[in-house]
């Protein structure tokens, strides 16, 4: 960085702590970025934006919130009715959770389609999966805080998942609860952890970006940057594009905050928690529905269960469901090796592209089924969709990626851009 024509104060700082050149190399003119990035590449910065909004709104909520079973529900109602702009801040936080998952899920499907997890970005992808796990834990514990009926029963059902673990399961559940049921000690620790985890996510995001900056962004063609002609400086080109994306995304986000603030929520959560009455239909937040569908697909007669448990010998259906649910996310860690193709982008792998879209639909079907009661045709569809989910990751991706012959790749990013412009 040319320090000569800097302001003397900046120069003084730069000499002692080179923040300005650091920024310039991370997000500035000196960070070369593939010039063909499309709008699917906006969702990383959008997720970052939502993370900041969640932390700011969350810290403000925590100033008014009381983590005690006798007061939690009322303190949230007080935020809604009495605290100045409390309703706005809570609705920003509440809908922010959904926006975070929308941004991150799109971000991940982008990675899956364009092969961004492939070498040399495996660790970048793996850190991303850990961010997803930390987000899930954060959102789950946040949802418990308002201490409504869904908070309480969601917490009960999810913590009870651990009771499926042989031998030590029940002790683990007691340890998580700090008592004999979900109760005040549970609420207190969830608040503490809900406050902590977003900062852990910030740490993970820093490492994620660090790994990103080693090899730079992938791009829609999936081919490597070969010369300076393939790139432009991040600033101003992508700073502007990211800000534009943020504007559009905020319109979408604020539409819900102002006009449909409870669209993503469950009315039952406005009923104070009652440990003696289970709501007739317990559903998690929408972003957990696909996993919930996988969990419930495992009944004694599900053929996948019969196979993996050797006809019921190895484990009961409850444990199998819990393991499958965790496996559905953890398997993503192995994507870089499940996919054996030399070509990253599905734009040049038509069969893989088709498989991708079927998988995407399958995830939507799982989400739909997760929100329906487990009866009749829903069970059958849920079981088939669960089977397909694992078949995609464990059979279709490894085989198609190794057998499919990709289309001819462009010579360079620059060449593909020029060709598109013709």
């Amino acid at each position: 960085m040319d320090t000569n024509n800097m302001h003397p104060v900046m120069k003084w700082v730069e000499h002692r702590l080179p923040v300005f050149s650091f920024l310039d190399h991370s997000l500035g003119t000196q960070y070369p970025t593939p010039k063909n990035l499309n709008y699917w590449w906006n969702f990383g910065s959008l997720a970052g934006l939502v993370l900041v909004i969640m932390i700011v709104s969350g810290i403000v909520l925590a100033m008014h919130y009381t983590a005690h079973v006798d007061y939690a529900f009322n303190s949230v109602e007080r935020i809604m009715r009495d605290v100045n702009y409390g309703w706005l801040i809570r609705y920003i936080h509440m809908n922010g959770g959904s926006m975070f998952f929308i941004a991150v899920y799109i971000h991940m499907f982008r990675g899956l389609y364009f092969g961004s997890y492939q070498a040399p970005r495996e660790l970048l992808w793996i850190i991303g999966v850990f961010i997803l796990l930390a987000m899930m834990a954060t959102a789950f514990m946040g949802y418990v805080l308002p201490w409504g009926q869904m908070s309480f029963w969601g917490a009960t059902v999810i913590t009870n998942l651990f009771s499926a673990i042989p031998l030590v399961g029940d002790s683990i559940v007691t340890l998580l609860w700090g008592g004999f049921s979900v109760d005040n000690p549970t609420l207190n620790r969830f608040f503490s952890l809900h406050f902590l985890l977003p900062f852990v996510i910030v740490g993970l995001v820093v490492v994620h970006i660090w790994a990103l900056h080693v090899h730079g962004s992938n791009n829609p063609t999936g081919i490597d940057v070969k010369s300076e002609q393939d790139t432009v400086g991040f600033h101003p080109y992508f700073t502007v594009k990211d800000f534009f994306g943020m504007g559009v995304f905020m319109i979408f986000y604020m539409f819900f905050v102002f006009y449909a603030p409870n669209f993503f929520g469950e009315p039952d959560n406005y009923i104070p928690a009652n440990p003696l009455v289970t709501p007739p239909h317990i559903v998690p937040e929408w972003y957990f529905l696909p996993y919930y569908a996988i969990l419930r697909a495992f009944t004694g007669d599900f053929f996948v269960y019969q196979i993996v448990s050797l006809g019921g010998l190895l484990m009961d259906a409850k444990l199998a469901g819990v393991l499958a649910m965790f496996a559905s996310i953890l398997l993503l860690l192995f994507m870089p090796w499940l996919d054996g193709s030399k070509v990253r982008s599905c734009s040049f792998r038509p069969i893989m592209a088709m498989a991708f879209w079927i998988f995407f639909l399958d995830c939507l079907v799982l989400g739909y089924i997760g929100g329906k009661p487990a009866e009749g045709i829903y069970i059958t569809i849920g079981q088939f969709a669960t089977f397909y989910y694992f078949a995609h990751l464990l059979v279709i991706v490894p085989l198609v990626s190794r057998l499919e012959r990709p289309k001819q790749l462009p010579d360079s990013i620059n060449a593909s851009v020029l060709k598109a412009a013709e």
Partner: protein, 184 residues
């Protein structure tokens, strides 16, 4: 003499193994120490002394008529106490263990056959089964029915159909007198 070590080399090797030993033993002590120091930070999450102190409940059975059930709270969970009818008792003891998902005789689940006392928490994922109040569904086996994912329990609280793996749990309890029980 290439096949015998010089005095310097021997000294070096002696020194090396001494260093390895010190390194390994220091690391082991540090690892054990860290593990020991971690324990209080894990164990603090377990139920505290006051939580444990609240963990018994006494119940007067006098007002419960035959065929009635009540729900009491014990350790933050509902406990079902049912004054069973003769018909329910005979139905429960007539079941063959081959028909049970979690085989257990009715006699093993009660101290006095007319009093069925158990934790009213579904062993699947912790919902509260229906069947305590008169209008509620009692499931296909005349006992309790969990609406969350459809588990059916019989008049002994044993799982008969649905995803739950175990019978409704029987808590520790003792009769303090003919009509008074202490749960926990």
């Amino acid at each position: 003499m290439s096949d015998t070590a010089t005095p310097e080399q021997t000294a070096e090797i002696d020194d090396q193994s001494k260093r390895d030993f010190l390194f390994v033993s220091t690391a082991s002590v540090a690892a054990v120490g860290t593990a020991l120091a971690a324990w209080p930070f894990i164990d603090q999450m377990n139920p505290a002394a006051d939580t444990l102190a609240l963990s018994t409940t006494e119940v007067d059975l006098e007002p419960i008529e035959e065929g009635q059930s009540i729900t009491v709270v014990w350790r933050g969970k509902p406990v079902f106490i049912r004054h069973r009818t003769a018909k329910e008792i005979s139905e429960a003891s007539a079941v063959k263990s081959a028909d049970l998902i979690d085989p257990e005789g009715d006699a093993e689940r009660v101290q006095k056959p007319q009093w069925l006392i158990m934790v009213g928490v579904c062993t699947h994922l912790g919902c509260i089964p229906l069947g305590q109040k008169s209008g509620e569904s009692k499931g296909d086996f005349g006992g309790w029915f969990c609406p969350c994912h459809g588990s059916h329990y019989d008049t002994s609280g044993r799982i008969r159909k649905g995803p739950a793996p175990k019978n409704l749990a029987v808590p520790e309890y003792s009769f303090l007198s003919e009509s008074k029980v202490k749960i926990g």
